[in-house]
């Protein structure tokens, strides 16, 4: 049974889809080096880095934008 008009009543339900499995490289953030500039939070296409700079690996696709945009190189991309 498909919902009427194939509407989806559960907001944000793509969370069921763990895109972390798409990843080849994994960002590792060194909180000691981090200067709290929010660049990585802002630029993450998945929105999966929170204000405490914890990365949600369930969804991180490993694009590497965060590492690229970190002004102090606090994020390293490591092979899964």
């Amino acid at each position: 049974m498909v919902a009427i008009g194939a509407a989806v009543k559960e907001p944000g339900s793509t969370r069921k889809n763990k895109t972390g499995s798409w990843r080849t490289f994994k960002p590792i953030l060194d909180k000691e080096t981090c200067i709290d500039c929010e660049n990585c939070v802002m630029f993450c296409p998945e929105g999966c880095i929170d204000k405490n700079y914890d990365i949600d690996y369930d969804y991180c696709k490993g694009c590497g934008i965060c590492a690229e945009e970190c002004p102090v190189k606090a994020i390293k991309m490591e092979r899964e």
Binding site: V2, A3, A6, V8, E10, P11, G12, S13, T14, R15, K16, N17, K18, T19, W22, R23, E38, V41, M42, F43, C44, P45, E46, G47, C48, D50, K51, D56, D58, Y59, K61, G62, C63, G64, I65, A67, E68, E69, M77
Partner: protein, 288 residues
């Protein structure tokens, strides 16, 4: 500017790694907040965010077709008005194809009628959803699958359609260009767009890893290069008043931007010079 914490586009969506469109949507929604209804044109964004039975949207969202997002939003806005819900933002996300090409008539109608809505064109400069076909927003010299370079061709042979100025010609209260690589500038413009009474149009350039041909990590870098070289200019037109909102301190050579992308790889030095002189002409006029 304080970055609002709440996310309105959930992860788990099906965008390419390094997608620029979702960055733009995330930032825009942070500024608009939860009292917002979004309408999408058919395109990448619609397909990657709503694979039934899932949705990435945390706010009410509607999609009908490729060419009618502005008309659908007109109906949404009018209906909300009829119900006295005038404080709800209505935002439209259309790609460059859905905006500059097939959706232009509906968009023009909506702008001219003065609906209180915010139209954001997320411009990746070709039909990326269907595999990189040329759009009216594809820049001069870019190779796409329908404007390929070859023995007789250097790729797209027409300049990019000037959508923001077409919108400005409608006399709407707010028009702006933006880039995902300048988030504060973009978010300020979204806020202004939400505050004006009447239609607002923001043309957001958004690099596309797949269509432009660069490594996913470079998305923000490419957007920045476009602006730093003067290839994409950040401005706003508020009640008819034109203002450049960001000026690079030292304008970089356009070739630096072109050479970073596969879609321009085939260009000869001479063709790159032609592009440089086009950019120079505009930048000199705008004192960039």
């Amino acid at each position: 500017m304080e970055l609002p914490e709440k996310e309105f586009l959930a992860p788990g969506h099906r965008a390419c790694a390094g997608c620029g469109a979702t960055i733009g949507v995330r930032l825009a929604l942070k500024m608009l907040g939860e009292n917002t209804v979004a309408v999408s044109a058919t395109g990448c964004l619609e397909v990657i965010t709503t694979p039934y039975p899932e949705t990435a949207w945390e706010i009410p969202w509607m999609h009908v077709a490729f060419e009618n997002a502005a008309a659908v939003a007109s109906g949404v806005e009018s209906a909300l008005k009829a119900q006295g819900k005038t404080d709800t933002n209505v935002v439209v996300f259309g790609g460059d194809g859905g905006t500059a090409d097939i959706g232009l008539q509906a968009l023009s109608g909506a702008m001219e009628r003065g609906h209180n809505l915010i139209y954001i064109c997320y411009d990746n400069e070709a039909y990326m959803n269907t595999g990189i076909q040329r759009s009216g927003a594809t820049p001069y010299g870019a190779s796409t699958t329908t404007s390929p370079h070859g023995k007789e061709s250097f790729g797209e042979d027409k300049p990019k359609k000037n959508m923001p100025m077409i919108m400005a010609a409608h006399g709407i209260p707010y028009v702006a260009t933006a880039s995902i690589s300048y988030p504060e500038d973009f978010m300020k413009k979204v806020k202004k767009a939400a505050e004006v009474d009447g239609p607002a149009y923001i043309h957001l350039q958004q690099p596309c890893t797949t269509g432009w041909g660069y490594s996913p990590a470079k998305t923000i870098d490419l957007g920045r290069l476009a602006v730093e070289t003067g290839s994409w200019i950040l401005y706003e037109i508020e009640d008819g008043e034109f203002k450049v909102t960001y000026r690079p301190i030292q304008r970089k050579k356009v070739s630096e931007y072109l050479n970073a992308q596969k879609r321009f790889k085939h260009l000869s030095d001479l063709e790159k010079e032609t592009i440089q002189s086009h950019v120079d002409a505009i930048c000199v006029e705008l004192k960039i």
